[in-house]
Chain length 358, copies 2
């Protein structure tokens, strides 16, 4: 019940352990097409360039920036937790001039803050925010910020590592130009792949670059020939990880997105209610709290490390620690994908009550 | 029997499908240490910085270049196949000025060619060659080239994607400063990780850079805190892939390196003899032929695509096509790791005889 990897269904583990075929084998090529099709449904997009990058979520983040940014480009990044800061670092390594828009950890990035930043930096190449901040449990609304970015002529980039598969992510409706996620959160697949999607507008920027993409491994101009119809060998795709993702996506679609989101919401509300009855609140902003990641405040006088250790050793429950300015102040309880279950919430609340009740 | 992925032992598939633990869980941290220790044995090195990069072999290639190269550095790269050309592309994307040392595909890079290049470019930052060219089946001797590089004050980089685990790779004895490999060749593990090792000298270059490493995901200065003793969260490691690599390495060491190399040699010689009896030679340079990847010349009047298709559909044997200047002229028969078996060679020879015998 930490911030990921989440529990993985046994059928996903079974799929992953099937014998290997080649990365250009017709069986695998067919599977690649099915993965792309299922990812489009999950991302709610028609983007042709939708596929899993052969690395973990941070590789997907880097994929988006290296393909879209050239040295000297202005970039606005919303920072309200660990992953906003990571985007700043990645963008700067691409040579971007980064303007940070900061919120207190636990709070969202407000559209008004982006509006103000655009007055100082009126023509950015890109505006980037984190949809669901795994480090704080805050869910930033997307639509107005996307509109502001586009009105300024910028591309809009969204981190959906923790949101995808756990709450609505609407890439086309929200006009997101570049998005990355990860397999080990609400898709409940082992870590190792990063689903990404680029809009036609983003692809145009990537294909018309002046300078080659600084990463060969993540260059979408090369990857599109392997994941597209040409099937030109680029790198050897992680075959087994793709078997796993194929089955994990099948399970997501079998449950249905709406039903899955409702499940995540209900279990979150049950956890929140139970904690509240013990006088324990969430550290994330009211009205913008993630269903899949709950930043429970550590009660006064309780040592968070001891609390986590007792949860693990006495109750076999792993949760995450607070990071950065929330270190020692919260524990992070994940209810992601297969881990978002009523009985898990009950078990956690009973354990928490036994250990931490004032 | 293609150029990889090779067959994977059932115990490796079983290990890969074990339930997930967290990427900072003590059980996983202990496994990381064991993987590092076993990799050092396989690479025949004492290098502290020896671990698997969370990406496929090409990510390992990029890891080596992005950490060691800064814009404007001179680099000498041996090019005698696909992967030498890939190194040139990757190095140039890091801002290197690259001098290519080219050999005909199928031939090795000769130390004399490097000596001549060093007369034109006397102070390169790095000299890089491919040990075992998967595209041609040639094995370039390392020691003299390594010495020439060091005499010129350069670092020496070696691609061991196809050699590691199939023939001797002696990182310390050969004084290799940076090396990368892949899991899906002679280690017989699914693709998805790239074992790498950096010498103390290479680490000094990486830590004393003027400019930040252009890739956040592959920055060894950050990765060393996660794979080292601090265990600072960097990215979520591909847990299941590391389970698989742990078991695959255990099998390699259980067999023993010398015995494993002898097996690869014997099966290669048996294949070569069988082909020779049919009047079929290997396209790679005599005296420098890889044991694990055999570039069999396509007999006169035989269409290589039809030959490969009949091998696959009539005999259930997958082999690789020729690439670049060898396209249509060779088929690539892999005898890597679990695939290097006497009965596989026999089966292949019988099938080849049935289809292609003049």
């Amino acid at each position: 019940m930490g911030p990921g990897p989440s529990d993985v269904a046994s059928s996903v583990l079974r799929a992953m352990s099937q014998p290997l075929v080649g990365h250009l084998d017709p069986v695998f090529v067919n599977m690649m097409e099915e993965i792309k099709t299922m990812l489009r449904v999950v991302f709610q997009t028609k983007n042709e360039m939708t596929f899993p990058v052969s690395g973990t979520g941070s590789a997907g983040m880097e994929f988006c920036f290296v393909n879209l940014i050239e040295p000297g480009d202005d970039v606005i990044v919303g920072v309200n937790g660990v992953f906003g800061n990571r985007m700043v670092d990645v963008a700067e390594r691409c040579g971007a001039r980064v303007t940070k828009v900061e919120s207190e950890w636990g709070r969202i990035i407000d559209a008004q803050q982006i509006r103000e930043a655009l007055q100082k930096v009126p023509k950015p190449k890109l505006v980037a925010i984190v949809h669901a901040e795994t480090s704080t449990g805050a869910l930033t609304p997307v639509e107005e910020i996307s509109k502001l970015a586009h009105d300024a002529g910028a591309l809009f980039l969204l981190d959906t590592v923790t949101s995808l598969g756990g709450c609505p992510v609407k890439i086309d409706e929200w006009q997101v130009d570049a998005v990355y996620s990860a397999t080990q959160k609400c898709l409940s697949c082992p870590p190792g792949l990063s689903p990404v999607s680029l809009s036609a507008r983003a692809m145009e920027v990537a294909t018309r670059r002046k300078k080659k993409v600084q990463s060969w491994y993540l260059d979408v101009n090369l990857l599109s020939s392997y994941w597209g119809q040409e099937r030109v060998y680029h790198h050897t795709a992680p075959i087994s990880m793709n078997y796993a993702l194929h089955e994990a996506l099948r399970l997501v679609l079998h449950e249905g997105l709406e039903k899955r989101f409702r499940r995540h919401e209900e279990n979150h509300l049950m956890l929140k209610r139970g904690l509240s009855e013990m006088g324990v609140g969430l550290a994330s902003q009211e009205g913008h709290q993630l269903w899949q990641l709950n930043a429970a405040k550590v009660p006064e006088g309780v040592d968070d490390a001891k609390l986590r250790k007792r949860l693990l050793t006495e109750h076999n429950i792993e949760v995450g620690a607070g990071l950065g300015s929330l270190k020692g102040k919260i524990i992070r309880v994940g209810l992601m994908g297969e881990t978002s279950k009523r009985e898990k919430v009950e078990k956690f609340l009973a354990a928490f009550r036994a250990i931490a009740k004032p």
